[in-house]
């Protein structure tokens, strides 16, 4: 059975009633995991309260950061500051330069574009090529499809149809999320899959975009944020005898090796950073 994910639920955090209502409704609609955007300066107690509501509703929660930088430099600074504190990082691209930087940066998980200003949707061939190399995904919020009327909805559908075709051509994963601020605008995963047919997204791909694709990102990031993570495929397995073992090399390390590992990890990170920003 599929595990459905809504990685973008936008309740007003200050209104605890609404938060609880939306989380419970997500659970009723068949979601097993939700993502709520959290401000970096939010108190830890509020996050614990969110986690408590979710555990009561038998639903898992991921912490998500929505960035909307004005310049590529601002984006890099924000990523450096906040990446390791959030499980999902989404960038709303308001300019072409930000869109290109976000697409080529491996720290960015989701690329999001304005639904109302179609001139600010920069998901073209170049963007898709960069995104496919950096494992970024295209996020499509479904709420504008419900709230927009008439000509603006027609133009949005037409634009989404083109973007889905480009994403398919370059193998960029697509994520469908609700982006709902109001419980009335929340729909079940199967309803979203039906709505996705409006922009020529096959039913099976739409269901993947609501389950497997976001789950892959979350699992990858949770693994990376784990303190035992070293590199893709390599992590420390702590045995009961308190030995430190690197799984892929099957090598036993002493505590001093642990220090060396941290240094080499830092070097590797620096090299990667230099490659990215020469």
């Amino acid at each position: 059975m599929r595990k459905f994910v809504d990685p973008h639920l936008r309740p007003s955090i200050a209104n605890s009633n609404q938060v609880e209502k939306m989380i419970n409704k997500s659970s009723e609609l068949g979601y097993r995991l939700i993502g709520i955007p959290i401000q970096p300066n939010l108190m830890r107690d509020t996050i614990h309260e969110l986690q408590r509501i979710c555990s009561d509703a038998k639903i898992d929660i991921v912490t998500r950061l929505d960035l909307a930088p004005n310049t590529p430099h601002e984006l890099l600074l924000d990523l450096r500051r906040f990446r390791r504190r959030f499980e999902i990082v989404s960038v709303t691209c308001n300019s072409k330069s930000v869109a290109r930087q976000a697409a080529k940066d491996r720290r960015v998980d989701l690329l999001s574009f304005s639904a109302t200003h179609l001139r600010k949707r920069f998901f073209d061939y170049a963007e898709a090529e960069l995104a496919s190399k950096a494992l970024s995904s295209l996020e499509i919020n479904m709420t504008p499809l419900l709230s927009l009327k008439g000509f603006s909805r027609i133009r949005l559908l037409s634009r989404l149809r083109k973007e889905i075709a480009i994403a398919k051509k370059f193998g960029v994963p697509v994520i469908l999320s609700s982006g709902a601020k109001d419980p009335n605008l929340m729909r079940s995963p199967h309803d979203y899959a039906s709505l996705a047919a409006l922009f020529d997204m096959p039913q099976e791909s739409a269901l993947c975009a609501l389950s497997e694709n976001p789950l892959a990102i979350i699992e990858r990031n949770r693994e990376k944020l784990n303190s035992d993570y070293i590199a893709p495929g390599i992590r420390i397995i702590r045995s009961p005898r308190r030995e430190t073992v690197v799984s892929t090399h099957e090598k036993t390390l002493s505590p001093s090796d642990d220090c060396e590992r941290t240094t080499s990890q830092r070097k590797r990170r620096d090299t990667r950073h230099l490659e990215r920003h020469p």
């Binding site: 009327k149 009335n184 309803d191």
Partner: protein, 92 residues
């Protein structure tokens, strides 16, 4: 559905309007839509449509955001080929 009490006419009108908005008159002519059953107290309705037009109807129902000018949403509980199986599936 909505928190307000809706009559049969409101429900079917909302669905027809959504189909017309999304697929136009040509699309609406292919749906063969009919309201089979409606319970305003329990806020549920059973709707019949052509098998080929199922995805159109599902998308249209999902796109409904208001009925009679008030915020509302219709959620699909189940889809089935026969009414007997539908009642069994949805435990109505």
């Amino acid at each position: 559905m909505s928190e307000q009490l809706l009559n049969e006419k409101d429900v079917i009108h909302a669905i027809w309007s959504a189909i017309l908005k999304l697929f136009g008159e040509h699309g609406a002519s292919q749906v063969n839509l009919a309201l089979i059953e409606h319970d305003p107290q329990k806020s549920y309705a059973v709707v019949r449509c052509l098998h080929k037009a199922l995805e159109m109807v599902k998308a249209s129902i999902a796109s409904i955001t208001e009925i009679n000018g008030k915020p509302a949403a219709i959620h699909i509980v189940g889809v089935s080929g026969t009414l007997k199986a539908l009642r069994k599936k949805s435990a109505m």
